[in-house]
Subunit: 327 residues, 2 copies
């Protein structure tokens, strides 16, 4: 099934069920008003939502209305955890090669993950608000999942069963704040402003055969200022699958329902597929010509991120954002 959260002026919005073709929607209010309620009580709530979803897909839902992505908050407008991986090791290799740094051997066996802020997510059509474009505004096109409870010590394969929903993310980075921040040793902090998510979150079964081995075997398209800059495979080159990422978190603690886990920038070895973040383009330019040529985003720039299913139709709806000044 496909779910979204409609803006209603509240902090958590209103849960809606969205038709498979993303044309119509229906409030889930008789069943659950917020997505976190579903995640807290999946076995009880999800069958009821699935019923509504089938009715909606059959055109039989009485109070269905046209689905408008612009009315969406993030599927989870605020979450109890946002843990983002860097699971496409090709991305790490490129960025390191550009600065003549080695990739440690352990990076191929031990996932790289950071803890992100999760109190203020933004909707798929909300602006990327940044007071200062000199901070180096960059998009990062990613796949993300929302989990069930996964107890401490769960294996990677078992943790994969904890994937409840799949969606897309734009994990915006402020690149020029990163070097000083990483030098402090405590990881990303100010360099990671609010993350945006696709209008819709979908259960893995919506992906059909494209969901296998804990990966989404589909292409992720990134369109920057109207130009397609990336059509990258989110599948086979994902070094660590989502079960491995969730398992990495729960080595030392429990993962609780509603945790969001990201793939990191989707990245392929074949450069002709383009890029899912500007930093990678700049790394390639540095490797090829000694210095980066492509500038980061400016106020007014647009970014569009979308993924088509095996049937060619948009799975999650598109993230479409414009970079804006702080009001």
């Amino acid at each position: 099934m496909k779910l979204a959260t409609y803006k209603d002026g509240s902090r958590d919005g209103q849960l809606v069920v969205v038709s498979r073709d993303l044309t119509t929607a229906h409030y889930a209010s008789g069943i659950a008003t917020r997505l976190q309620q579903l995640l807290d009580d999946w076995n009880f709530v999800s069958p009821q939502l699935e019923d509504l979803y089938q009715t909606l897909n059959n055109g039989k839902a009485r109070h269905a209305f046209e689905f408008e992505p612009a009315k969406c908050m993030a599927p989870l407008p605020r979450a109890y955890q946002w843990a983002d991986g860097s699971a496409f090791i090709n991305h790490v290799e490129l960025v390191r090669k550009a600065r003549n740094a080695e990739v440690p051997e352990s990076f191929y066996t031990d996932p790289l993950m950071y803890q992100g802020g999760s109190d203020d997510f933004i909707g798929a059509r909300d602006p990327i608000v940044c007071p200062n474009p000199e901070w180096g505004i960059d998009f990062e096109s990613e796949v993300a999942v929302i989990t069930s409870d996964v107890p401490m010590g769960t294996s990677a394969d078992a943790a994969l069963e904890g994937v409840r929903l799949v969606m897309l993310a734009n994990d915006v980075s402020l690149r020029n704040l990163i070097p000083a921040e990483l030098a402090k040793g405590f990881g990303f902090f100010q360099s990671k402003p609010a993350t945006a998510f696709s209008p819709v979150a979908a259960t893995p079964d919506e992906l059909g055969d494209a969901w296998r081995g804990g990966r989404v075997h589909l292409n992720l398209e990134s369109v920057w200022n109207g130009k397609r800059v990336g059509l990258c495979s989110a599948g086979e080159e994902m070094t660590f699958h989502f079960g491995q990422l969730i398992g990495h978190i729960c080595k030392t603690r429990n993962v609780r329902a509603g945790s969001i886990v990201g793939s990191g920038t989707v990245s392929n070895k074949d450069w002709s597929r383009g890029y899912s973040c500007i930093a990678e383009k700049r790394a390639i330019e540095t490797i090829e010509g000694g210095e980066p040529k492509t500038a980061f985003m400016q106020h007014g720039d647009t970014i569009r991120i979308e993924m088509k299913g095996l049937d060619g139709a948009s799975v999650f709806g598109a993230i479409e954002q414009t970079v804006a000044q702080l009001a």
Copy 2:
């Protein structure tokens, strides 16, 4: 006023108002059932809770019962943000001196903060569950605050107005996992298991004159295996006050209601005051004798963290935890 969250089998527990002397409590259910509701709608909800608090303190609350800290979850059992500072720069100086590293000049003007996991907090009397004591289990006695909404770009002084509640934290660290994790460059992750908080969270006015300049001018006591190992001042030596820490977060993003912000390990220049984490004791041993002598915590070890007010009475109740194996 003083607030706690009682275990009731649910994920968020039941909000209770606790008397100033921590002897009695009263369910807040007629007003709000969860602490996050108060934080989401402070101006409407808090006056009603304050009324109940006064009635309780006057011994006039009809359904008051004995307050039992063992029944407490963390005041916020799960939160949308946990951002922990390292605001006592003396702690950083000691740890770096022990490994012959300099403290960069910027550390005195730019707060050190990390993003922590906030989906699975534990109560004041819950065990510290750790599968492997060789990971180097350490307590960290801290002060923490819970915030209101604080918009992006708010100054440090204005951000200080965002402090709604104050409490204590035991930000457990797995010290032996830290070096490899920091070497990866993405900050703490597996090295930070579930954080525990004091039974009670209190509004800043409960601290009286001890709350000034964005700091808590009281002593924080740490008792390890029955022996007092630290009685450290949480006030004047806090290099960055809570407004500066909150302002640091909202340089590039909004801080939303219910965010928890920590002080980092409370640490004083006068070593006779003891320590608030074992790593600091080991740093001092290394500086004095070339190597650490004190081992980290083992299964069965206990830690007790408490703070007395200007009147000598416990402000937040005590954190009392035992290190336990994974069941």
